[in-house]
């Protein structure tokens, strides 16, 4: 339990660091030196020191937005087996709770955006409400896949200890599909290229960034921290899937885990550097690909596991 809590705190503290890797990779592809690795901490500290300006149109819901989006992200991390170690909490069905909790965070992010009466934020909110619908379908398809393999409905049954290795032994080929499907979900849910471009300068083309235009100071800091935690959540899952090895509570486990995380974040950075953002109406097709992959993976397991 103490170990899990320490890992949870470390995860929240280190999430901004890993997100810095993406900047470095993008700078490398652009032939620049790039910002320092700790850039996200500097940004967070800067934001936390500031005050805030609130729009006259907003109500208390606007202030609740950042709080609930961060809260849902850190609660989700409590159920996540970090580095393959046991999570703080785990029960049968916790995955459903987690997915719906992320939904709660999204509800309030959208509500906070609509609170400002800004046409741009409304546009971002409409997109934010749309794309995750397909992601959720994919997530539940993946859950069906995992449930058929393990008969459990909790993250720790898929990603803790040697269980991921068991999954690979049971159904290695379809699991490859799942890894790709997860990566697509990661890009979508965390507003990365090719679904959304966090670095774009035109509000009309944004999704997540435009929704938080009116947030400032510590509120913005909380949102950013929540976004880092959410990215960390998905990255950890993919890390465990691509490096399923388990060496107990040892340096090798953590070394492998960190190496895996770096690989995932570099992959995100490379994706962002080599492809452009899709046209908005093409995005659903991209996300539906992940559903198709998860669907085929499940169909294949029907044959594997008789």
């Amino acid at each position: 339990m103490t170990e899990s809590i320490i890992l949870w705190i470390l995860a929240i503290l280190l999430a901004p660091l890993f997100a810095g890797i993406i900047f470095k990779v993008k700078a490398f592809f652009g032939g620049r030196l790039g910002s320092p690795l700790l850039i996200n901490y500097y940004t967070l500290i800067k934001l936390m020191k500031k005050g805030s300006v609130y729009s006259n149109s907003t109500t208390v819901i606007f202030r609740l937005g950042p709080i609930i989006s961060l809260c849902s992200a850190i609660v989700v991390l409590m159920f996540l087996p970090i580095a393959g170690r046991a999570p703080i909490f785990s029960f049968n069905g916790d995955v459903i709770f987690i997915l719906y909790l992320l939904g709660l965070g999204r509800f309030f992010t959208i509500a906070a955006a609509m609170d400002t009466a800004s046409p741009f934020e409304g546009m971002g909110a409409a997109r934010e409400a749309y794309f995750p619908i397909i992601c959720e379908a994919t997530m539940f398809m993946i859950l069906i896949f995992f449930f058929r393999l393990t008969g459990e409905l909790k993250l720790s049954a898929y990603f803790a200890g040697s269980s991921t290795m068991t999954l690979w032994n049971l159904a290695g080929a379809p699991l490859l599909f799942i890894v790709i499907a997860f990566f697509i979900i990661l890009l979508t849910e965390n507003s990365r290229v090719p679904v959304d471009d966090p670095a774009t300068h035109l509000e009309l083309t944004m999704i997540h960034e435009v929704m938080i235009l009116d947030h400032s100071g510590p509120d913005l800091g909380l949102i950013e921290l929540g976004a880092f935690c959410k990215l960390f959540f998905y990255s950890t899952i993919i890390t465990k899937l691509i490096l399923p090895f388990d060496y107990g509570l040892s340096a090798i486990t953590f070394g492998l885990y960190i190496a895996g995380l770096i690989i995932v974040y570099i992959a995100i950075g490379v994706t962002e550097s080599v492809i452009a953002r899709y046209r908005m109406d093409k995005v659903p097709q991209f996300i539906l690909t992940s559903f198709a992959l998860a669907f085929f993976a499940t169909i294949i397991t029907l044959e594997f596991l008789k």
């Binding site: 936390m48 005050g51 805030s52 300006v53 609130y54 729009s55 006259n56 149109s57 109500t59 202030r63 950042p66 709080i67 809260c71 849902s72 609660v75 409590m78 029960f91 049968n92 069905g93 459903i96 709770f97 997915l99 719906y100 909790l101 939904g103 709660l104 999204r106 509800f107 959208i110 509500a111 609509m114 609170d115 400002t116 009466a117 800004s118 046409p119 409304g122 546009m123 909110a125 409409a126 409400a129 749309y130 995750p132 619908i133 959720e136 379908a137 997530m139 539940f140 859950l143 069906i144 449930f147 058929r148 235009l213 009116d214 100071g217 510590p218 909380l222 109406d281 659903p284 029907l302």
Partner: protein, 652 residues
Amino acid sequence: MSQFFMSILIIISGGFLSLIFAKQFKLLKFLAVLLLSIGCLTGLVDVVTKLLQSGTSFASFKYLNIFSLTFQIDALSAFFLVAIFLVSLLATIYSFHYMDDSKHPVRTATNYFFFSILIASMALVVTASNMITFMLSWEIMSLSSFFLVIYKYNEPENRKAGYLYFVFSHVGAMFIFAAFGIVYGYTGSFEFSAINSLPETAKIVVFIFSFIGFGSKAGIFPFHVWLPYAHPSAPSHISAVMSGVMIKTGIYGIIKMYVLLSFHTLLFGNIVLIAGVISGILGIVYALGQHDLKRLLAYSSVENIGIILIGLGIGMIGVASKNPLMAALGFTGGFLHILNHSIFKSLLFMGAGMVLHKTGTRSIDALGGLVKNMKVTGTAVIIGSLAICGLPPFNGFVGEFFIYIAGFNGVTLTKSAFVMSCFGIISLAVIGGLALACFTKVIGVVFQGEPRTNAAVDVNEKGPTMLFSMSILAGICIVIGIFPQLIIQLPINAVSALGLGFDNTLLEPFTKMTGNITLSATIFMVSLLFVIAVQWFFYRGKNITKSGTWGCGFTQPTVKMQYTGSSYASFILDFFKPAAPLSEDHPAIEGRFPEKTYYKSHINDIAELNMNRAIVNPVLFLFDKLRWIQHGDIHLYIGYILLAIVLLLFFI
């Protein structure tokens, strides 16, 4: 039983007294609300104790020496009675300040009269224990609600809505008659217990007929066409009762028939599940496309009926494939959602009623920024929306959680049961996402932002009884969401009384799951407090200023620039274009000095479109050709009747 009939009597006497004192507006309202509330409250107390003891009580009356009217309260009826009395109680209290049209006291009195009849007949429908009693109560229920729908009969659209509802409920009743007729034809008995002895093919036909008949009351796609017309026409507390509990009597009918037929084939489960998936997804897609707040809520009822059917369908598949855990979870999830939906849907209709009452408009795109002046209503509607999206820690999540777990238990099965379970799970996920989009639209456009027209400026939320009802319902949403163990016994008792081959031995997984839901809700709450403390810490002593919304460099923003409900939904609706075609009316802007233009859009319901094309037009055509039969001569009409009877005698 006597206490139950006592409550019914008090309720009906409330209705009659309001008619007697129809001239004194204040007195009639006071008497009606008082007696209806007392009746509902005593009824509620009675059925909750009955349900917890799970005994069965029985009463029988001879009527005209031919038919016996028999009533029976078992756990299943008691469960529905809980929802009926609870929602009716709060709707009655709500109506006290809502019905303030003192210029039309007689109309108000009539409304209370039919309202009392509606409550009583709903209670009798779910307690009726033979076919005659059932159909009698069913017809009274349909007729009384018809008169409630045409409350404002001087507006043609309300009369149209009433007419549509009348046709649908009677075509539905015809199907139920047909189903009961088949039973009577085979067994020669009006008793429910006779249904069991039918041959299997007849059972399938009876189930399909009654599914269509009850489905038209419940609002299952494609028999839901009356809902989006009738709910907006009725006064809001009536919409709350109709959408919250009356359509559930259709679900009661389906469950009752399923239990009575006691024919556990996969076919029934598959029919129910597929109907649930289609109703669920299309219901919420159409809801998303609506411009009228109450029409939106009506379509959302179609969606929630879909979720309930998914739960029941999974349960039926579980029974058929001998998986008791899946069956128990599916049914319990469906039952919980019945109760939960009646709570948050009536809350949302009451909220919509408050908005309509104070702004005078139901048009979503005409509103905006209401939460600033309507703090209680706004908060209650937000809680209701969170609950209806199935988000934790609110009550909607609990029911959906059970249905999910049931579905996952079905995933381990083979062949069609596997496919259907996957289908149910994925649809439930998609429905959840769409519901979130739909209700963020309601919150974002109606309650947040800036007022779009003058209707939404300077509103208030006066009306203590209205606020009281909404606060109670919102409170129930949260309490059940965090402590589901408080009420879990109600659906469990109802489900175990169905006698589907599993009993109370399965209680353990439920206590475990409700414990987990409480645990996770507590974790969330504690973390929320923690994050709030963090935010407070960083804002302590800071400089906080107010300013306009950042317009991305544009300095002259107007409220007209805000995203409207239509534009918010258009992106998603585009994806569902084949099922929800959009018709637009928008004259192009032409020339140097363009004319003033406008934009109108309407989302078409394919059920309605096809119903007109495939049923209404051919029927009209046929009857147009048969018009010569009707030429107003009463002697000839009597002749027709005699001829028909003589012809029928040849067959009997």
